[in-house]
């Protein structure tokens, strides 16, 4: 039984801390409103909530039903704009009630746990409360020590448990702080078209741009039967994981097989990857403009593979006018992998289904192509017709938030 259920007039709530947004000056209202609407969309199937900003925090109460607040907190922790979340309980500011609630709260936290060090930290905003914050902390500490002599001992510096008590108009207790992913609310920074390959890097790049407030759309070039249905399913799963952070994502799949075959026939082998990427960029840009996106996003990192040298990037960059955001360009692979693990895309990214880059890879690609090389390599193909044909073969699917798949 939850602590709040054992008392009348004790309610569960979430205290949500917002970081960067509070610095936004005159635009702050718009950022907060967007954040709250993003939060609502993330949890509206769990119940009805009141979500209110005050005292530079966001306060979330359940209005009806009895939603699992831990689950609400878990879901909200992946909403960009949130720095951290504390599940808390709220009750009338009264010393007698406070003592009884604290005893139950501690019993709940300590159930099944071993020995723990602890302390209280009290913040008294309502100065009419009869005890000072120091007195509240030391009294409550003494009460818990007496009640749980086997389990608890006091430690002031970095204890296992810190019970926070805040006495305002109402009184609040919490002990847990769940870190969020910070950043800016998705929707504040326009729309970006993410080129997804199924590897480790591109989902991380999408995550990073969404964390700066971009709405994501994703494009994948499918070359069945060279690549399998499983490879496509894997990319879709990556989009699904990203949607936990970025919200709904329009996922565009280009049936690229015929184009790939034509390129393979007509383009010199050592330039195949470069030309393929130039074609992909053009297709992505055409789609991006149609979809009102303001930038392309890739997971490219300088020097990682032959097609990501400065020269190779230049030859692909130059075929499009939209800016290309490459948030990983200067990152070390290990850091990218660490981020992929943190956001939960790594395990899916490393599933061993080939993508078109590995099937059609030449044994000795040109690592330092010149613009002249690239243009000459395209001499035998009708680029415009190819891009046009690719855009005819795009199917789009909206991928919505999901929370059921393993974290």
């Amino acid at each position: 039984m939850r602590v709040a259920d054992q008392f009348e007039n004790v309610r569960e709530l979430l205290l949500v801390r917002i970081g960067e947004i509070t610095l936004k000056g005159l635009n702050r209202g718009r950022f907060v409103a967007r954040l709250i609407s993003n939060m609502k969309r993330r949890i509206n199937d769990l119940g009805e909530f009141s979500i209110v900003q005050s005292h530079s925090r966001i306060w979330i109460h359940a209005l009806s039903g009895n939603p699992p607040m831990q689950e609400v907190a878990r879901r909200l922790s992946s909403v960009f704009g949130i720095v951290s979340i504390s599940p808390a309980i709220e009750f009338e500011s009264d010393w007698g009630i406070l003592v009884r609630v604290v005893e139950e709260y501690a019993a709940d936290v300590l159930a099944g746990a071993g020995r723990r060090t602890f302390k209280f930290e009290t913040k008294r905003v309502d100065k009419s409360f009869p005890l000072s914050s120091y007195e509240v902390s030391s009294e409550l500490g003494a009460i818990l020590l007496e009640k749980f002599p086997e389990q608890l001992s006091v430690l002031m510096h970095e204890p296992d448990l810190t019970f926070h008590v805040e006495i305002r108009e109402k009184t609040y207790i919490y002990h847990e702080t769940i870190p969020g992913h910070a950043g800016l609310p998705v929707g504040m920074s326009g729309r970006g078209m993410l080129l997804l390959s199924g590897g480790i890097d591109s989902p991380v790049a999408g995550y990073m741009m969404a964390s700066r407030g971009m709405i994501l759309e994703a494009i994948y070039f499918h070359t069945f039967p060279y690549t399998s249905q499983k490879a496509l399913d894997k990319v879709e799963k990556l989009v699904r994981i990203l949607s936990r952070f970025a919200g709904r994502i329009a996922f565009h799949v280009v049936d690229f097989t015929d184009i790939q075959l034509e390129l393979n026939d007509k383009v010199p082998q050592d330039m195949l990857t470069i030309v393929m990427r130039r074609v992909m960029m053009r297709v992505a840009e055409k789609l991006a403009i149609e979809r009102n996106a303001k930038a392309l996003i890739t997971g490219e990192s300088l020097g990682q593979v032959a097609s990501q040298t400065a020269e190779a990037l230049m030859t692909t960059d130059i075929v499009v006018d939209l800016p290309i955001f490459r948030p990983l360009i200067g990152m070390d692979k290990n850091d990218t992998v660490a981020l992929a693990r943190k956001i939960g895309t790594f395990e899916t990214s490393i599933l061993p289904y080939d993508d078109c880059c590995t099937v059609f890879v030449s044994k000795h690609p040109k690592t330092h192509p010149s613009l002249y090389d690239a243009e000459r390599a395209e001499a035998r193909i009708d680029v415009e017709a190819i891009v046009e044909a690719a855009c005819e073969k795009i199917s789009t699917k909206l991928i919505d938030l999901t929370f059921d798949e393993g974290d």
Partner: protein, 379 residues
């Protein structure tokens, strides 16, 4: 699953209280089904009813055989031999013997034909005696057949006390097999490979071969495999095996004719190919490469029309171009990448085979990255 087996299996699943350890009527009926199953299996595989342990499948049988023998190794040398042509279940269990049970493990080479290289085996045995040896009798990758009694004799010349295990998963119901005359101490088989339900298997264990259990509990099956017996599964396994053994010659002939029809048709359509399976291999599986097109590409395209083949690099868990059996036979990465494994079954018809070959020709013309059919559409 064979329809006649499915009917009996489902009927048994519905019977209440079928725990063969119980003394009530239901329990006794279950016990008698279990005994019947053992009798059928003993006739099919020429073993004694006392030599049968029911398991959950080939992998469990192999684990019990190898880990259980290692735990009961006694004074025998802590050295185990297997071949590079083994199934992953044996390879990985052998690695566990080396890493967790302190065994020296050696993998003996196979020849280009995919069978155990006897000279390599002889020199491995001359190097030091072994306590455990394990051989795949018919390769799941290529169908290559090892002459198992020759191998067991060779091992016993050098290591008379060795415990010898055979992986007979691809043998049962497909070719004659006599456990008695094989010289094996242990043999593992899997039910679902011959039309029994998944999750059923058998380990054959010669009476005097030492074996410790790897699953502890109520002491069922002479304490070798605790846990209530899966009576419907065991009975279905026995029934399926018997049904295949009774029709073995005619089925084998049919399957062999399908396989040769396949190869003739491939050649008639001039699809470049490298047959990896050796002459005299089991007709039930054909390993073949079509240079110019990846096995993966064929598999993807065919699976869309519900034709299921496998690639040289089986299982999604592996990287393209990796296949320990084909590499051990000396094939290069390009051949392995373009290799597929085609299973022929008694239920298939000549029409099925001809259709498959036509589709392979069409897919080759459309998707081969290099190499052309002589006289083919793109030629």
């Amino acid at each position: 699953m064979l329809p006649e087996v499915l009917a009996v299996y489902v009927g048994l699943l519905g019977e209440s209280g079928n725990n063969p350890a119980s003394t009530h009527a239901g329990g006794l009926r279950a016990l008698s089904h279990l005994d019947d199953a053992k009798r059928m299996i003993s006739r099919c595989l020429d073993c004694s009813v006392d030599e049968i342990v029911f398991t959950s499948g080939g992998t469990e049988s192999i684990n019990l055989a190898l880990l259980g023998s290692a735990a009961a190794i006694g004074r025998r040398p802590k050295r185990a031999l297997a071949t590079t042509g083994e199934h992953d279940a044996v390879i990985e269990t052998m690695k566990a013997l080396s890493e967790k049970y302190d065994f020296d493990v050696d993998f003996v080479a196979v020849t280009h034909e995919g069978v155990v290289d006897r000279n390599a085996l002889r020199s491995a045995l001359e190097e030091a005696p072994c306590g455990i040896a394990s051989f795949i009798v018919v390769s799941n990758e290529t169908g290559a057949i090892n002459d198992v009694s020759t191998l067991t004799s060779l091992v016993r010349q050098y290591s008379p006390e060795a415990i010898i295990h055979g992986d007979i998963v691809q043998v049962c119901g497909k070719m004659p097999f006599s456990f008695r005359r094989s010289g094996l101490d242990l043999a593992s088989l899997s039910g679902h490979k011959f039309g029994a339900p998944k999750g059923t298997g058998v380990l054959l264990k010669r009476k005097n071969s030492p074996l410790s259990p790897i699953v502890y509990g109520g002491g069922q099956q002479k304490n070798l495999r605790s846990g209530t017996e899966n009576v419907p599964g065991a009975y279905a396994l026995a029934l399926a095996l018997q049904s295949h053994v009774m029709r073995m010659d005619e089925q084998r002939e049919h399957v062999a004719s399908l396989r040769s029809l396949f190869l003739r048709s491939i050649d008639a359509l001039r699809i470049p190919r490298v047959v990896i399976s050796p002459d005299g291999a089991s007709p039930y599986v054909l390993s073949i490469a079509f240079p110019g097109i990846r096995g993966e590409t064929l598999l993807n395209a065919l699976s869309e029309e519900n034709i299921y083949i496998s690639t040289g690099s089986a299982c999604g868990s592996k990287r393209a171009g990796e296949n320990h059996v084909l590499s051990a036979m000396g094939h290069d990465k390009e051949t392995i990448l373009s290799a597929v494994r085609i299973s022929f079954a008694p239920t298939q018809s000549t029409d099925d085979v001809e259709h498959l070959v036509r589709r392979i020709a069409e897919l080759y013309d459309r998707y081969a990255m290099h190499g052309k059919r002589r006289g083919g559409a793109r030629g």
